[in-house]
Amino acid sequence: MTQMTGGTDAVSIAGVDKVFETRSGQVQALSGIDLTVAAGEFVSLIGPSGCGKSTLMRLIADLDQPSTGTVSVFGKPAKDARIAQDYGIAFQQAGLLPWRTVEENIELPLSLHGAPKAERAARVAELVSLVGLGDFADRYPDQLSGGMQQRVAIARALAEKPRLLLMDEPFGALDEMTRERMQSELVRICAETGAAVVFVTHSIPEAVFLSDRVVVMSPRPGRIQEIVTMRLAATADREEGLREQHEFFDMITAVREALHQGSPVAAVRGVETR
Protein backbone atom coordinates (compact mmCIF):
# COMPACT_ATOMS: atom_id res chain seq x y z
CA MET A 1 0.00 0.00 0.00
CA THR A 2 1.43 3.33 -0.99
CA GLN A 3 1.54 6.08 1.56
CA MET A 4 2.83 8.56 -0.95
CA THR A 5 0.48 11.39 -1.65
CA GLY A 6 1.87 12.74 -4.85
CA GLY A 7 -0.27 15.32 -6.60
CA THR A 8 -0.77 12.84 -9.40
CA ASP A 9 -2.73 10.33 -7.33
CA ALA A 10 -6.43 10.42 -8.02
CA VAL A 11 -7.46 9.57 -4.48
CA SER A 12 -5.45 9.25 -1.33
CA ILE A 13 -7.05 8.26 1.93
CA ALA A 14 -5.00 8.24 5.11
CA GLY A 15 -5.99 6.98 8.55
CA VAL A 16 -9.70 7.45 7.99
CA ASP A 17 -12.29 6.49 10.61
CA LYS A 18 -15.97 7.15 10.23
CA VAL A 19 -18.31 7.03 13.18
CA PHE A 20 -22.03 7.71 12.77
CA GLU A 21 -23.88 9.10 15.75
CA THR A 22 -27.28 7.46 15.89
CA ARG A 23 -30.04 7.43 18.48
CA SER A 24 -29.08 3.95 19.58
CA GLY A 25 -25.43 4.92 19.99
CA GLN A 26 -22.38 5.13 17.80
CA VAL A 27 -21.87 3.10 14.64
CA GLN A 28 -18.27 2.62 13.61
CA ALA A 29 -18.61 2.36 9.85
CA LEU A 30 -14.94 2.63 8.85
CA SER A 31 -11.76 2.10 10.79
CA GLY A 32 -8.17 2.82 9.84
CA ILE A 33 -8.61 3.10 6.11
CA ASP A 34 -5.51 3.83 4.02
CA LEU A 35 -5.89 3.66 0.28
CA THR A 36 -4.34 5.30 -2.74
CA VAL A 37 -5.79 5.23 -6.22
CA ALA A 38 -3.38 6.26 -8.95
CA ALA A 39 -4.48 8.40 -11.85
CA GLY A 40 -6.12 6.24 -14.50
CA GLU A 41 -6.33 3.25 -12.17
CA PHE A 42 -9.47 1.14 -11.79
CA VAL A 43 -10.06 0.09 -8.19
CA SER A 44 -13.04 -1.92 -7.00
CA LEU A 45 -14.36 -2.09 -3.45
CA ILE A 46 -15.92 -5.39 -2.47
CA GLY A 47 -17.11 -6.75 0.84
CA PRO A 48 -20.14 -7.92 2.75
CA SER A 49 -23.19 -5.70 3.03
CA GLY A 50 -22.77 -2.98 5.62
CA CYS A 51 -18.97 -3.00 5.59
CA GLY A 52 -18.81 0.65 4.64
CA LYS A 53 -18.19 0.65 0.87
CA SER A 54 -20.78 3.29 0.15
CA THR A 55 -19.60 5.30 3.14
CA LEU A 56 -16.04 5.27 1.84
CA MET A 57 -17.21 6.40 -1.57
CA ARG A 58 -19.31 9.16 -0.04
CA LEU A 59 -16.24 10.39 1.84
CA ILE A 60 -14.33 10.64 -1.43
CA ALA A 61 -17.28 12.50 -2.98
CA ASP A 62 -17.45 14.84 0.03
CA LEU A 63 -21.06 13.87 0.63
CA ASP A 64 -19.92 12.93 4.15
CA GLN A 65 -16.85 13.88 6.17
CA PRO A 66 -14.47 11.48 7.93
CA SER A 67 -14.43 11.44 11.74
CA THR A 68 -10.64 11.27 11.69
CA GLY A 69 -8.01 11.12 8.96
CA THR A 70 -7.85 12.84 5.61
CA VAL A 71 -9.26 12.25 2.16
CA SER A 72 -7.64 14.02 -0.74
CA VAL A 73 -8.56 13.94 -4.38
CA PHE A 74 -5.90 14.97 -6.89
CA GLY A 75 -3.91 16.39 -4.01
CA LYS A 76 -6.75 18.63 -2.83
CA PRO A 77 -9.07 18.18 0.14
CA ALA A 78 -12.20 16.30 -0.94
CA LYS A 79 -14.35 19.40 -0.59
CA ASP A 80 -12.19 21.47 -2.90
CA ALA A 81 -12.18 18.63 -5.40
CA ARG A 82 -15.97 18.49 -5.31
CA ILE A 83 -16.25 22.21 -5.85
CA ALA A 84 -13.67 22.01 -8.63
CA GLN A 85 -15.75 19.24 -10.22
CA ASP A 86 -12.86 16.80 -10.29
CA TYR A 87 -15.05 13.73 -10.21
CA GLY A 88 -18.18 12.35 -11.81
CA ILE A 89 -20.48 10.11 -9.84
CA ALA A 90 -23.04 7.40 -10.56
CA PHE A 91 -25.18 5.91 -7.81
CA GLN A 92 -26.91 2.57 -7.52
CA GLN A 93 -30.14 4.09 -8.79
CA ALA A 94 -29.82 6.05 -12.00
CA GLY A 95 -31.25 9.16 -10.31
CA LEU A 96 -32.35 10.84 -13.55
CA LEU A 97 -34.62 13.87 -13.40
CA PRO A 98 -37.98 12.64 -14.75
CA TRP A 99 -38.85 15.94 -16.44
CA ARG A 100 -35.69 15.98 -18.51
CA THR A 101 -35.11 13.97 -21.65
CA VAL A 102 -32.09 11.73 -22.06
CA GLU A 103 -30.19 14.57 -23.73
CA GLU A 104 -31.23 17.10 -21.12
CA ASN A 105 -30.27 14.79 -18.26
CA ILE A 106 -26.80 14.32 -19.69
CA GLU A 107 -26.59 18.04 -20.28
CA LEU A 108 -27.47 18.93 -16.66
CA PRO A 109 -23.95 19.27 -15.23
CA LEU A 110 -22.80 21.14 -18.33
CA SER A 111 -25.59 23.69 -18.21
CA LEU A 112 -25.26 24.07 -14.44
CA HIS A 113 -21.66 25.07 -14.95
CA GLY A 114 -22.45 27.43 -17.78
CA ALA A 115 -20.84 25.66 -20.71
CA PRO A 116 -21.62 27.44 -24.01
CA LYS A 117 -24.63 26.08 -25.84
CA ALA A 118 -22.88 24.82 -28.95
CA GLU A 119 -20.22 23.06 -26.92
CA ARG A 120 -22.90 21.47 -24.77
CA ALA A 121 -24.82 20.13 -27.74
CA ALA A 122 -21.70 18.64 -29.27
CA ARG A 123 -20.64 16.98 -26.03
CA VAL A 124 -24.11 15.57 -25.37
CA ALA A 125 -24.32 14.12 -28.88
CA GLU A 126 -20.93 12.52 -28.38
CA LEU A 127 -21.95 10.99 -25.03
CA VAL A 128 -25.31 9.80 -26.28
CA SER A 129 -23.63 7.76 -28.97
CA LEU A 130 -20.90 6.64 -26.58
CA VAL A 131 -23.47 4.89 -24.42
CA GLY A 132 -25.41 3.70 -27.46
CA LEU A 133 -28.61 5.66 -26.92
CA GLY A 134 -28.67 7.58 -30.21
CA ASP A 135 -32.24 6.55 -30.94
CA PHE A 136 -33.47 7.58 -27.53
CA ALA A 137 -31.99 11.04 -27.15
CA ASP A 138 -35.33 12.80 -26.78
CA ARG A 139 -37.05 10.20 -24.65
CA TYR A 140 -37.97 10.75 -21.03
CA PRO A 141 -36.56 8.44 -18.33
CA ASP A 142 -39.90 6.70 -17.77
CA GLN A 143 -39.76 5.55 -21.37
CA LEU A 144 -36.44 3.75 -20.86
CA SER A 145 -35.54 0.39 -19.38
CA GLY A 146 -33.53 0.24 -16.17
CA GLY A 147 -30.36 -0.58 -18.10
CA MET A 148 -30.84 2.36 -20.44
CA GLN A 149 -31.43 4.69 -17.50
CA GLN A 150 -28.22 3.48 -15.93
CA ARG A 151 -26.36 4.20 -19.15
CA VAL A 152 -27.74 7.73 -19.16
CA ALA A 153 -26.51 8.13 -15.59
CA ILE A 154 -23.06 6.98 -16.64
CA ALA A 155 -23.03 9.35 -19.59
CA ARG A 156 -24.04 12.15 -17.22
CA ALA A 157 -21.18 11.22 -14.88
CA LEU A 158 -18.79 11.41 -17.83
CA ALA A 159 -20.17 14.69 -19.18
CA GLU A 160 -17.45 16.94 -17.85
CA LYS A 161 -14.65 14.52 -18.68
CA PRO A 162 -13.76 13.93 -15.03
CA ARG A 163 -10.38 12.41 -14.25
CA LEU A 164 -12.07 10.39 -11.52
CA LEU A 165 -15.27 8.37 -11.68
CA LEU A 166 -17.06 7.21 -8.53
CA MET A 167 -19.54 4.40 -9.09
CA ASP A 168 -21.60 2.76 -6.37
CA GLU A 169 -23.04 -0.52 -7.62
CA PRO A 170 -24.09 1.11 -10.87
CA PHE A 171 -25.05 -2.21 -12.43
CA GLY A 172 -26.69 -3.63 -9.33
CA ALA A 173 -30.19 -3.58 -10.77
CA LEU A 174 -29.31 -5.08 -14.14
CA ASP A 175 -29.71 -8.62 -15.43
CA GLU A 176 -26.57 -10.68 -16.00
CA MET A 177 -26.53 -10.21 -19.80
CA THR A 178 -26.93 -6.43 -19.72
CA ARG A 179 -24.51 -6.29 -16.88
CA GLU A 180 -21.72 -8.00 -18.80
CA ARG A 181 -22.34 -5.77 -21.79
CA MET A 182 -22.23 -2.69 -19.58
CA GLN A 183 -18.96 -3.90 -18.05
CA SER A 184 -17.41 -4.17 -21.48
CA GLU A 185 -18.71 -0.71 -22.35
CA LEU A 186 -17.26 0.67 -19.14
CA VAL A 187 -13.86 -0.87 -19.91
CA ARG A 188 -14.00 0.76 -23.33
CA ILE A 189 -15.12 4.12 -21.98
CA CYS A 190 -12.36 4.16 -19.35
CA ALA A 191 -9.79 3.27 -21.97
CA GLU A 192 -11.03 6.16 -24.11
CA THR A 193 -11.13 8.72 -21.31
CA GLY A 194 -8.24 7.52 -19.15
CA ALA A 195 -10.22 8.25 -16.00
CA ALA A 196 -9.45 6.67 -12.65
CA VAL A 197 -12.40 4.74 -11.22
CA VAL A 198 -13.51 3.78 -7.74
CA PHE A 199 -16.14 1.12 -8.24
CA VAL A 200 -18.32 -0.49 -5.57
CA THR A 201 -19.73 -3.91 -6.36
CA HIS A 202 -21.00 -7.10 -4.81
CA SER A 203 -19.98 -9.23 -7.74
CA ILE A 204 -16.55 -10.86 -7.69
CA PRO A 205 -16.42 -11.55 -11.45
CA GLU A 206 -17.42 -7.96 -12.12
CA ALA A 207 -14.68 -6.63 -9.85
CA VAL A 208 -12.10 -8.93 -11.43
CA PHE A 209 -13.11 -8.15 -14.98
CA LEU A 210 -12.97 -4.39 -14.52
CA SER A 211 -10.20 -3.69 -12.04
CA ASP A 212 -6.50 -3.15 -11.74
CA ARG A 213 -6.84 -3.78 -8.02
CA VAL A 214 -9.66 -5.15 -5.89
CA VAL A 215 -9.98 -3.83 -2.36
CA VAL A 216 -11.52 -6.47 -0.11
CA MET A 217 -13.21 -5.06 2.98
CA SER A 218 -14.29 -6.70 6.21
CA PRO A 219 -17.30 -5.68 8.25
CA ARG A 220 -17.83 -4.14 11.65
CA PRO A 221 -15.92 -1.95 11.77
CA GLY A 222 -15.18 -1.63 8.07
CA ARG A 223 -11.51 -2.17 7.37
CA ILE A 224 -9.43 -3.01 4.36
CA GLN A 225 -8.76 -6.72 4.69
CA GLU A 226 -6.66 -7.17 1.62
CA ILE A 227 -5.89 -5.51 -1.68
CA VAL A 228 -5.69 -8.01 -4.53
CA THR A 229 -3.84 -6.93 -7.66
CA MET A 230 -5.35 -8.34 -10.83
CA ARG A 231 -2.70 -10.17 -12.80
CA LEU A 232 -4.54 -9.88 -16.07
CA ALA A 233 -4.20 -8.00 -19.33
CA ALA A 234 -4.20 -4.21 -19.00
CA THR A 235 -7.77 -3.10 -18.36
CA ALA A 236 -7.95 -1.37 -21.74
CA ASP A 237 -7.25 -4.66 -23.53
CA ARG A 238 -9.80 -6.78 -21.71
CA GLU A 239 -12.43 -8.38 -23.88
CA GLU A 240 -15.33 -10.78 -23.51
CA GLY A 241 -13.01 -13.74 -24.10
CA LEU A 242 -11.26 -13.03 -20.82
CA ARG A 243 -14.28 -14.25 -18.91
CA GLU A 244 -13.51 -17.80 -20.02
CA GLN A 245 -9.77 -17.85 -19.44
CA HIS A 246 -8.19 -19.57 -16.49
CA GLU A 247 -6.31 -16.45 -15.33
CA PHE A 248 -9.70 -14.88 -14.85
CA PHE A 249 -10.86 -17.76 -12.66
CA ASP A 250 -7.59 -17.65 -10.73
CA MET A 251 -8.24 -14.03 -9.88
CA ILE A 252 -11.82 -14.80 -8.89
CA THR A 253 -10.51 -17.45 -6.54
CA ALA A 254 -7.97 -15.04 -5.11
CA VAL A 255 -10.65 -12.46 -4.35
CA ARG A 256 -12.96 -15.10 -2.92
CA GLU A 257 -10.26 -16.32 -0.59
CA ALA A 258 -9.55 -12.81 0.55
CA LEU A 259 -13.26 -12.33 1.22
CA HIS A 260 -13.60 -15.60 3.09
CA GLN A 261 -10.30 -15.13 4.88
CA GLY A 262 -10.10 -17.47 7.81
CA SER A 263 -12.56 -19.93 6.36
CA PRO A 264 -10.74 -22.34 4.02
CA VAL A 265 -11.56 -22.29 0.31
CA ALA A 266 -10.73 -25.34 -1.75
CA ALA A 267 -7.87 -25.48 -4.24
CA VAL A 268 -5.55 -22.71 -3.18
CA ARG A 269 -3.39 -21.80 -6.12
CA GLY A 270 -0.44 -19.50 -6.29
CA VAL A 271 -2.33 -16.41 -5.32
CA GLU A 272 -0.52 -13.13 -5.48
CA THR A 273 -1.70 -10.62 -3.01
CA ARG A 274 -0.27 -7.67 -1.25
Partner: protein
Protein backbone atom coordinates in the same frame (compact mmCIF):
# COMPACT_ATOMS: atom_id res chain seq x y z
CA UNK B 1 -21.82 10.19 -35.66
CA UNK B 2 -21.64 13.25 -33.46
CA UNK B 3 -24.95 14.56 -34.68
CA UNK B 4 -26.34 11.14 -35.51
CA UNK B 5 -29.02 11.27 -32.87
CA UNK B 6 -31.26 9.74 -35.56
CA UNK B 7 -34.57 10.95 -34.32
CA UNK B 8 -36.18 8.59 -36.80
CA UNK B 9 -35.84 5.87 -34.20
CA UNK B 10 -38.69 7.54 -32.42
CA UNK B 11 -41.12 6.46 -35.12
CA UNK B 12 -39.86 2.90 -35.14
CA UNK B 13 -40.07 2.37 -31.40
CA UNK B 14 -43.52 2.22 -29.83
CA UNK B 15 -44.43 2.78 -26.23
CA UNK B 16 -45.25 6.41 -25.64
CA UNK B 17 -47.36 5.43 -22.66
CA UNK B 18 -48.59 8.91 -22.09
CA UNK B 19 -50.26 9.36 -25.46
CA UNK B 20 -52.14 6.10 -25.62
CA UNK B 21 -55.85 6.68 -26.18
CA UNK B 22 -55.62 10.29 -25.04
CA UNK B 23 -58.26 11.74 -27.44
CA UNK B 24 -60.74 8.96 -26.66
CA UNK B 25 -60.30 9.48 -22.96
CA UNK B 26 -60.71 13.22 -23.35
CA UNK B 27 -63.98 12.67 -25.23
CA UNK B 28 -65.21 10.27 -22.58
CA UNK B 29 -64.53 12.85 -19.88
CA UNK B 30 -66.53 15.53 -21.68
CA UNK B 31 -69.30 13.01 -22.30
CA UNK B 32 -69.42 12.12 -18.61
CA UNK B 33 -69.59 15.79 -17.69
CA UNK B 34 -72.46 16.47 -20.10
CA UNK B 35 -74.28 13.37 -18.89
CA UNK B 36 -73.98 14.61 -15.32
CA UNK B 37 -75.74 17.86 -16.22
CA UNK B 38 -78.50 16.02 -18.10
CA UNK B 39 -79.07 13.70 -15.13
CA UNK B 40 -79.20 16.65 -12.75
CA UNK B 41 -81.77 18.48 -14.88
CA UNK B 42 -83.72 15.23 -15.21
CA UNK B 43 -83.91 14.72 -11.44
CA UNK B 44 -84.94 18.35 -10.95
CA UNK B 45 -87.79 18.18 -13.43
CA UNK B 46 -88.87 14.69 -12.36
CA UNK B 47 -89.13 15.75 -8.74
CA UNK B 48 -91.00 18.89 -9.74
CA UNK B 49 -93.45 16.71 -11.70
CA UNK B 50 -93.95 13.89 -9.20
CA UNK B 51 -92.91 15.28 -5.81
CA UNK B 52 -95.51 16.33 -3.21
CA UNK B 53 -96.73 19.86 -3.90
CA UNK B 54 -95.98 20.95 -0.36
CA UNK B 55 -92.63 19.18 -0.13
CA UNK B 56 -91.88 16.84 2.72
CA UNK B 57 -92.00 18.03 6.31
CA UNK B 58 -90.45 15.84 9.01
CA UNK B 59 -90.68 16.86 12.69
CA UNK B 60 -91.39 20.41 11.68
CA UNK B 61 -88.44 20.63 9.29
CA UNK B 62 -88.94 20.73 5.56
CA UNK B 63 -86.52 18.12 4.21
CA UNK B 64 -87.75 18.26 0.61
CA UNK B 65 -88.69 21.55 -1.07
CA UNK B 66 -92.07 22.56 -2.43
CA UNK B 67 -92.49 21.83 -6.09
CA UNK B 68 -94.22 25.12 -6.92
CA UNK B 69 -92.82 27.33 -9.69
CA UNK B 70 -91.89 29.79 -6.97
CA UNK B 71 -89.61 27.37 -5.12
CA UNK B 72 -88.42 25.35 -8.09
CA UNK B 73 -88.70 27.10 -11.44
CA UNK B 74 -88.49 24.97 -14.57
CA UNK B 75 -84.96 24.63 -15.85
CA UNK B 76 -86.01 26.05 -19.22
CA UNK B 77 -87.57 29.04 -17.49
CA UNK B 78 -84.28 29.76 -15.79
CA UNK B 79 -82.47 29.62 -19.13
CA UNK B 80 -85.10 31.74 -20.89
CA UNK B 81 -84.91 34.30 -18.11
CA UNK B 82 -81.21 34.75 -18.83
CA UNK B 83 -82.09 36.19 -22.24
CA UNK B 84 -84.69 38.64 -20.96
CA UNK B 85 -83.84 42.13 -19.69
CA UNK B 86 -82.86 42.52 -16.05
CA UNK B 87 -85.62 45.01 -15.25
CA UNK B 88 -88.58 46.37 -17.09
CA UNK B 89 -86.88 49.73 -17.42
CA UNK B 90 -86.13 50.89 -20.96
CA UNK B 91 -82.69 49.95 -22.29
CA UNK B 92 -82.10 47.42 -19.50
CA UNK B 93 -79.42 44.90 -20.33
CA UNK B 94 -80.31 41.21 -20.67
CA UNK B 95 -79.84 39.23 -17.47
CA UNK B 96 -76.98 37.11 -18.83
CA UNK B 97 -74.98 40.22 -19.70
CA UNK B 98 -75.57 41.75 -16.28
CA UNK B 99 -74.45 38.50 -14.67
CA UNK B 100 -71.45 38.21 -16.98
CA UNK B 101 -70.30 41.76 -16.19
CA UNK B 102 -70.64 41.11 -12.47
CA UNK B 103 -68.88 37.74 -12.77
CA UNK B 104 -66.00 39.34 -14.65
CA UNK B 105 -65.49 41.86 -11.89
CA UNK B 106 -65.56 39.11 -9.26
CA UNK B 107 -63.20 36.99 -11.34
CA UNK B 108 -60.76 39.88 -11.54
CA UNK B 109 -60.87 40.40 -7.79
CA UNK B 110 -60.52 36.66 -7.16
CA UNK B 111 -57.57 36.52 -9.58
CA UNK B 112 -55.87 39.39 -7.76
CA UNK B 113 -56.46 37.54 -4.49
CA UNK B 114 -55.19 34.30 -5.95
CA UNK B 115 -52.04 35.94 -7.28
CA UNK B 116 -51.37 37.57 -3.93
CA UNK B 117 -51.96 34.20 -2.27
CA UNK B 118 -49.58 32.59 -4.74
CA UNK B 119 -46.80 35.08 -4.05
CA UNK B 120 -47.27 34.94 -0.29
CA UNK B 121 -47.76 31.15 -0.21
CA UNK B 122 -44.76 30.30 -2.38
CA UNK B 123 -42.69 32.94 -0.59
CA UNK B 124 -43.48 31.42 2.79
CA UNK B 125 -42.77 27.93 1.45
CA UNK B 126 -39.39 29.06 0.13
CA UNK B 127 -38.45 30.60 3.46
CA UNK B 128 -39.56 27.47 5.30
CA UNK B 129 -37.68 25.21 2.91
CA UNK B 130 -34.52 27.30 3.17
CA UNK B 131 -34.42 27.52 6.95
CA UNK B 132 -35.64 24.59 8.99
CA UNK B 133 -35.99 26.98 11.91
CA UNK B 134 -38.42 29.09 9.91
CA UNK B 135 -40.50 25.99 9.24
CA UNK B 136 -40.76 25.23 12.95
CA UNK B 137 -41.53 28.84 13.72
CA UNK B 138 -43.94 29.62 10.89
CA UNK B 139 -45.89 26.48 10.07
CA UNK B 140 -47.93 26.39 13.32
CA UNK B 141 -48.92 30.04 12.78
CA UNK B 142 -49.88 29.40 9.18
CA UNK B 143 -52.13 26.55 10.26
CA UNK B 144 -53.50 28.59 13.13
CA UNK B 145 -54.26 31.47 10.76
CA UNK B 146 -56.93 29.38 9.08
CA UNK B 147 -58.87 28.99 12.30
CA UNK B 148 -59.57 32.74 12.24
CA UNK B 149 -62.63 33.23 10.05
CA UNK B 150 -61.46 36.40 8.33
CA UNK B 151 -64.67 36.38 6.28
CA UNK B 152 -66.55 37.05 9.50
CA UNK B 153 -64.40 40.14 9.99
CA UNK B 154 -64.88 41.35 6.44
CA UNK B 155 -66.48 44.65 7.49
CA UNK B 156 -63.64 45.23 9.94
CA UNK B 157 -61.08 44.55 7.20
CA UNK B 158 -62.86 47.09 5.05
CA UNK B 159 -62.84 49.77 7.71
CA UNK B 160 -59.15 49.13 8.42
CA UNK B 161 -58.44 49.38 4.74
CA UNK B 162 -60.32 52.64 4.39
CA UNK B 163 -57.87 54.18 6.83
CA UNK B 164 -54.88 53.26 4.70
CA UNK B 165 -53.63 56.08 2.55
CA UNK B 166 -50.02 56.19 1.43
CA UNK B 167 -49.22 59.13 -0.81
CA UNK B 168 -51.22 58.81 -4.01
CA UNK B 169 -52.22 55.27 -3.09
CA UNK B 170 -55.63 54.94 -1.61
CA UNK B 171 -57.16 51.71 -0.39
CA UNK B 172 -60.09 50.66 -2.59
CA UNK B 173 -63.03 48.62 -1.36
CA UNK B 174 -62.34 45.86 -3.86
CA UNK B 175 -58.91 45.45 -2.28
CA UNK B 176 -60.48 44.35 0.97
CA UNK B 177 -62.33 41.66 -0.94
CA UNK B 178 -59.15 40.60 -2.76
CA UNK B 179 -57.31 40.53 0.56
CA UNK B 180 -59.84 38.15 2.04
CA UNK B 181 -59.72 36.00 -1.09
CA UNK B 182 -55.92 35.87 -0.85
CA UNK B 183 -56.15 34.97 2.82
CA UNK B 184 -58.13 31.88 1.88
CA UNK B 185 -55.98 31.10 -1.16
CA UNK B 186 -52.51 31.33 0.34
CA UNK B 187 -52.92 28.48 2.82
CA UNK B 188 -53.22 25.47 0.50
CA UNK B 189 -50.58 27.02 -1.75
CA UNK B 190 -48.08 27.46 1.09
CA UNK B 191 -48.61 23.94 2.37
CA UNK B 192 -48.54 22.34 -1.10
CA UNK B 193 -45.51 24.33 -2.21
CA UNK B 194 -43.57 23.42 0.93
CA UNK B 195 -44.37 19.75 0.46
CA UNK B 196 -43.34 19.99 -3.19
CA UNK B 197 -40.10 21.84 -2.50
CA UNK B 198 -39.18 19.21 0.06
CA UNK B 199 -40.14 16.35 -2.24
CA UNK B 200 -36.87 15.70 -4.15
CA UNK B 201 -35.17 12.42 -3.25
CA UNK B 202 -31.90 12.50 -1.33
CA UNK B 203 -30.17 11.07 -4.38
CA UNK B 204 -31.16 14.12 -6.44
CA UNK B 205 -30.25 16.58 -3.71
CA UNK B 206 -26.85 14.93 -3.32
CA UNK B 207 -26.37 14.91 -7.06
CA UNK B 208 -26.81 18.68 -7.05
CA UNK B 209 -24.32 18.87 -4.22
CA UNK B 210 -21.76 16.94 -6.25
CA UNK B 211 -22.28 19.55 -8.96
CA UNK B 212 -21.45 22.19 -6.34
CA UNK B 213 -24.81 23.80 -7.12
CA UNK B 214 -25.90 26.30 -4.47
CA UNK B 215 -29.35 26.82 -3.01
CA UNK B 216 -30.59 28.96 -5.88
CA UNK B 217 -29.47 26.62 -8.67
CA UNK B 218 -30.80 23.62 -6.77
CA UNK B 219 -34.09 25.46 -6.41
CA UNK B 220 -34.41 26.29 -10.08
CA UNK B 221 -33.16 23.01 -11.52
CA UNK B 222 -34.49 20.58 -8.97
CA UNK B 223 -36.88 21.77 -6.28
CA UNK B 224 -39.25 23.92 -8.35
CA UNK B 225 -39.70 21.37 -11.16
CA UNK B 226 -40.18 18.61 -8.58
CA UNK B 227 -42.77 20.75 -6.78
CA UNK B 228 -45.06 21.09 -9.81
CA UNK B 229 -47.13 17.91 -9.20
CA UNK B 230 -47.73 19.10 -5.62
CA UNK B 231 -48.27 22.70 -6.58
CA UNK B 232 -50.98 22.15 -9.20
CA UNK B 233 -53.62 20.66 -6.88
CA UNK B 234 -52.70 23.32 -4.33
CA UNK B 235 -53.19 26.04 -6.94
CA UNK B 236 -56.57 24.55 -7.91
CA UNK B 237 -57.66 24.51 -4.30
CA UNK B 238 -56.34 28.04 -3.90
CA UNK B 239 -58.32 29.20 -6.95
CA UNK B 240 -61.54 27.66 -5.64
CA UNK B 241 -60.92 29.27 -2.26
CA UNK B 242 -60.21 32.64 -3.88
CA UNK B 243 -63.50 32.53 -5.83
CA UNK B 244 -65.56 31.52 -2.80
CA UNK B 245 -63.72 34.04 -0.65
CA UNK B 246 -64.33 36.83 -3.15
CA UNK B 247 -68.06 36.09 -3.51
CA UNK B 248 -68.65 35.82 0.22
CA UNK B 249 -66.51 38.85 1.01
CA UNK B 250 -68.44 40.89 -1.57
CA UNK B 251 -71.61 40.03 0.27
CA UNK B 252 -70.28 40.84 3.71
CA UNK B 253 -68.43 44.02 2.77
CA UNK B 254 -71.36 45.11 0.60
CA UNK B 255 -69.15 45.72 -2.44
CA UNK B 256 -71.21 46.85 -5.44
CA UNK B 257 -71.01 45.38 -8.92
CA UNK B 258 -69.78 41.86 -8.19
CA UNK B 259 -71.66 38.61 -8.41
CA UNK B 260 -71.95 38.32 -4.63
CA UNK B 261 -73.94 41.52 -4.55
CA UNK B 262 -76.45 40.60 -7.28
CA UNK B 263 -76.79 37.12 -5.80
CA UNK B 264 -78.26 38.69 -2.66
CA UNK B 265 -80.14 41.38 -4.54
CA UNK B 266 -81.92 39.00 -6.93
CA UNK B 267 -82.64 36.50 -4.19
CA UNK B 268 -84.57 39.28 -2.51
CA UNK B 269 -86.68 39.64 -5.63
CA UNK B 270 -87.33 35.90 -5.90
CA UNK B 271 -90.94 36.09 -4.74
CA UNK B 272 -91.83 38.11 -7.82
CA UNK B 273 -89.30 36.70 -10.27
CA UNK B 274 -88.07 33.28 -9.08
CA UNK B 275 -86.07 32.43 -12.23
CA UNK B 276 -84.03 35.60 -11.99
CA UNK B 277 -82.33 34.50 -8.79
CA UNK B 278 -80.82 31.58 -10.67
CA UNK B 279 -78.90 33.81 -13.06
CA UNK B 280 -76.16 34.77 -10.61
CA UNK B 281 -76.04 31.20 -9.32
CA UNK B 282 -75.22 29.98 -12.83
CA UNK B 283 -72.75 32.84 -13.06
CA UNK B 284 -71.01 31.68 -9.90
CA UNK B 285 -70.82 28.13 -11.26
CA UNK B 286 -69.27 29.35 -14.51
CA UNK B 287 -66.87 31.43 -12.45
CA UNK B 288 -65.71 28.32 -10.59
CA UNK B 289 -65.34 26.43 -13.86
CA UNK B 290 -63.27 29.21 -15.41
CA UNK B 291 -61.00 29.25 -12.36
CA UNK B 292 -60.57 25.48 -12.41
CA UNK B 293 -60.13 25.51 -16.20
CA UNK B 294 -57.33 28.07 -15.99
CA UNK B 295 -55.45 25.83 -13.60
CA UNK B 296 -56.04 22.83 -15.86
CA UNK B 297 -54.59 24.86 -18.73
CA UNK B 298 -51.58 25.72 -16.60
CA UNK B 299 -51.21 22.02 -15.80
CA UNK B 300 -51.28 21.14 -19.48
CA UNK B 301 -48.51 23.65 -20.16
CA UNK B 302 -46.41 22.14 -17.39
CA UNK B 303 -47.00 18.60 -18.68
CA UNK B 304 -43.39 17.50 -18.69
CA UNK B 305 -43.04 18.17 -14.97
CA UNK B 306 -45.91 15.81 -14.24
CA UNK B 307 -44.41 12.76 -15.88
CA UNK B 308 -43.89 10.95 -12.59
CA UNK B 309 -47.52 11.45 -11.84
CA UNK B 310 -48.69 10.38 -15.27
CA UNK B 311 -46.75 7.16 -15.62
CA UNK B 312 -46.53 6.27 -11.94
Amino acid sequence: MADGLSRTGQIATPGLRRRRGAPARELARWGAGALGIVVLVGIWELYKLLGPADGLVLFGNRVLPRTSDLAMPHSWDMLARLLEPVTRADGARPLWLEVAVAATLTLGIAAAGWLTGLVVGVGLALVMQRWKLAEWGLLPWIILSQTIPLIAFAPVVRSWGSRIEIGAFEWQDWMSVALIASYLAFFPIAVGALKGLQSPDTIHVELMKTYAAGWWKTLVRLRLPAAVPYLLPALRLGAANAVIGAVVAEVSTGLQGGIGRILIQYAGQASGDPSKAWGPIFGAIVLGLVAAGSIALLGAMLGRYRRVEISG
